[in-house]
């Protein structure tokens, strides 16, 4: 008898047989497998098919499936056919950062001059992985430039911060752009460097970073601001602009009066919910045994006290430190 688990488990695709038959469509289908081993072998097999597979692979590059895209880029990287360069350059603008990253790596492996300009553009990518991949590929292709700005982008991509500093002033636009990076550690690094370079050109960008959402970014912006000559007395107002979760005590009090407990919940107290539910249960009991009018006589003063308490709790809430 067949074991039960085998019925539900899809049969593993036979990669070897498909490679023998040059079944490109079948191998591409295998790229959708959730099994990493099958996936890796399928991508490798596609790469081993050589230049004749390139046309089909390039066509499938428009697939919506990320795993398929990544697998195909990997295969094209192994085939190293000039026909794949233009389509891969287009993929450098894909909306998925992992796909862009893989394309940047592949273009470096394939190694045609035509890819250099698009890779230099990719150094300005908002994603640090893509930037790193592009910088690495450019290094691999022996790219050299006299343009200081491009060089700054290159070293930023490579995460070689010392080298960025030696470039000095021409690196400032690149560092400014880095202040929009999603990774707070990268933003901190950029701010440190702007401070060390110490040029007034960094002023607007640093002013913006003083109200960054991240605490360490804000602190490092303060340290760097004085190094580029921003007036110290004006730093606090920038910090004051930071996004803050300020709770309104009036809302807390009002909520707690109407729906006892919900005001506490609004102030972030987990037990607000508990009080809310206790109130509802008690109210139902009181209604059943005392009648509505009598119940409200008892409950109203309590609600008033709870409302006032939530209001004062809201006033006393500690403010998030800068």
């Amino acid at each position: 008898m067949l074991p039960l688990s085998d019925i539900f488990k899809p049969k593993k695709p036979d990669i070897e047989a498909m490679t023998q038959k040059k079944d490109i469509a079948g191998l591409i289908r295998a790229l959708r497998s959730s099994d990493l081993d099958v996936y890796t072998r399928a991508a490798k097999a596609l790469g081993s098919l050589g230049p004749e597979a390139v046309d089909v692979l390039v066509k499938t590059l428009k697939s919506k499936n990320k795993a398929v895209k990544l697998g195909i880029i990997g295969a094209l990287e192994l085939i190293k056919d000039p026909r794949s360069v233009e389509p891969l350059i287009l993929v450098l603008k894909d909306k998925d950062s992992e796909v862009r990253w893989q394309a940047a790596i592949a273009l470096g492996e394939i190694g045609y001059e035509r890819a250099i300009d698009p890779l230099v553009q990719a150094l300005r990518d908002p994603d640090k992985y893509v930037r790193y991949g592009a910088a690495f590929s450019l290094a691999k292709m022996g790219w050299k430039t006299a343009d200081a700005t491009d060089r700054a982008y290159y070293f930023i991509g490579m995460q070689e911060w010392r080298a960025v500093k030696t470039i000095g002033k021409p690196a400032i636009p690149a560092l400014n752009q880095l202040l929009r990076d999603r990774d707070a550690n990268v933003r901190v690094k950029a701010i440190e460097l702007l401070g060390e370079i110490g040029d007034a050109d960094a002023t607007p960008a640093l002013m913006r970073s003083l109200s960054d959402e991240n605490r360490e970014v804000r602190w490092n912006s303060v340290l760097s601001s004085s190094k580029v000559g921003i007036a110290l007395l004006h730093l606090p107002r920038q910090i004051a602009k930071r996004p803050q979760m300020i709770k309104n005590p009036i809302i807390a009090g009002f909520l707690n009066f109407l729906l006892p407990g919900m005001g506490y919940g609004y102030l972030g107290k987990w037990w607000g919910l508990l009080i809310f539910q206790i109130d509802i249960t008690t109210t139902v009991w009181l209604f059943k045994y005392q009648g509505e009018a009598n119940s409200y006589q008892v409950l109203f003063p309590i609600y008033l006290v709870l409302g006032i308490h939530a209001y004062y709790l809201g006033i006393k809430m500690p403010i998030d430190p800068p």
């Binding site: 606090p236 919910l273 139902v284």
Partner: protein, 310 residues
């Protein structure tokens, strides 16, 4: 849009002070700038609202006073620096005292140089330098370096830096405490054992780990580490608390553990209880419910036990 330029020309101090509480940041700060440029006539009205309840308004007032540079504002600002509840306000006060340039502020600034807030320390150091202050001994020098975030220079000072470093461990920011532990464990020949032990019980797991790595150089024996670490404050939720909540108010225990479904379960549970009560007697539904919630309480207890951190 209020016409700030016109108000400035008309020397409308009262109107400008009102704008310090405007809902838009930009207008607040332009009003502060305008008040600062009006000079002495704005000084007394500004000093009157130095204790305004809103932090942003106080910051604006002090900025303007820093621009006016009146000697009359020095004493009130020293009071603010020493007493205000908001560290942000104290920070601006420190910066403003430096901008005004009156040497009477030096003792107060030396005090705030040793504060637990890194912004305040930084502002105090900057202002002290502006007032021509120079550190006279290694202790003051260390405090100044800490304020400037200049950790490399502190290392060079050696054992003399130990006491100030231990003092600033009171900083609420874990990044600062981590840095201090790093340095304390790189300086040789000092008695910081107690401080290192305190750092081993820090609320922040990053600081605790740095303290473990530096423990040997601090003179804390390896064998005692687990014992000391086990005394750290409890930052994870209490298993008994979560279980008790789930027993009496099924779902609220999960809510306390910040599970999204806690609220859902709790509301459904309580609604059911209320409805059943309307048709039966009050305690009836609970008699049936508690044996079931008991099982969930035990499950909750073990769920939290697994969430331990070190």
């Amino acid at each position: 849009m209020p016409d700030i330029e016109a108000m400035k020309k008309a020397q409308d101090v009262k109107g400008l002070i009102h704008l310090l509480d405007h809902s838009e940041h930009d207008i607040q700060w332009r009003a502060a700038d305008a008040l600062g440029s009006l000079g002495e006539i704005a000084c007394d009205p500004l000093l009157k609202i130095l204790a305004f309840p809103k932090v942003n308004v106080r910051v604006g007032v002090i900025e303007a006073l820093g621009d006016i540079k009146s000697p009359r504002s020095v004493d009130p600002l020293i009071q603010t620096l020493a007493r205000d509840k908001s560290n942000e306000v104290r920070w601006v006060a420190a910066l403003a005292l430096g901008a005004i340039g009156d040497k009477r502020a030096i003792p107060a600034l030396l005090q705030s140089l040793r504060d637990g807030d890194r912004y305040l320390r930084y502002g105090s150091e900057k202002s002290l330098t502006m007032l021509g202050w120079q550190p006279e001994n290694d202790t003051d020098r260390t405090y100044a370096f800490i304020a400037m975030n200049d950790w490399e220079s502190i290392k060079k000072l050696g054992p003399a830096a130990v006491d100030p470093l231990m003092d600033i461990l009171k900083d609420k920011n874990p990044v600062t405490r981590g840095k201090i532990i790093d340095i304390l464990s790189s300086i040789r020949g000092h008695e910081a054992t107690q401080t290192c032990e305190a750092a081993l019980m820090d609320v922040d797991s990053g600081v605790r780990w740095k303290a473990v790595i530096g423990a040997r150089k601090c003179g804390v024996s390896n064998t005692r580490l687990p014992l000391i670490l086990s005394r750290r404050p409890w930052t994870t939720p209490s298993p008994v608390g979560a279980a008790t909540l789930n027993f009496f108010f099924f779902g609220l225990g999960y809510h306390y553990l910040q599970k999204w479904y806690g609220y859902l379960i709790y509301t459904s549970f309580m609604a059911t209880m209320v409805f059943v009560q309307l048709y039966t007697d009050v305690p009836v539904p609970f008699i049936y419910a508690y044996p079931i919630t008991w099982i969930f309480a035990i499950q909750t207890y073990f769920m939290v036990k697994k969430m331990h951190d070190l």
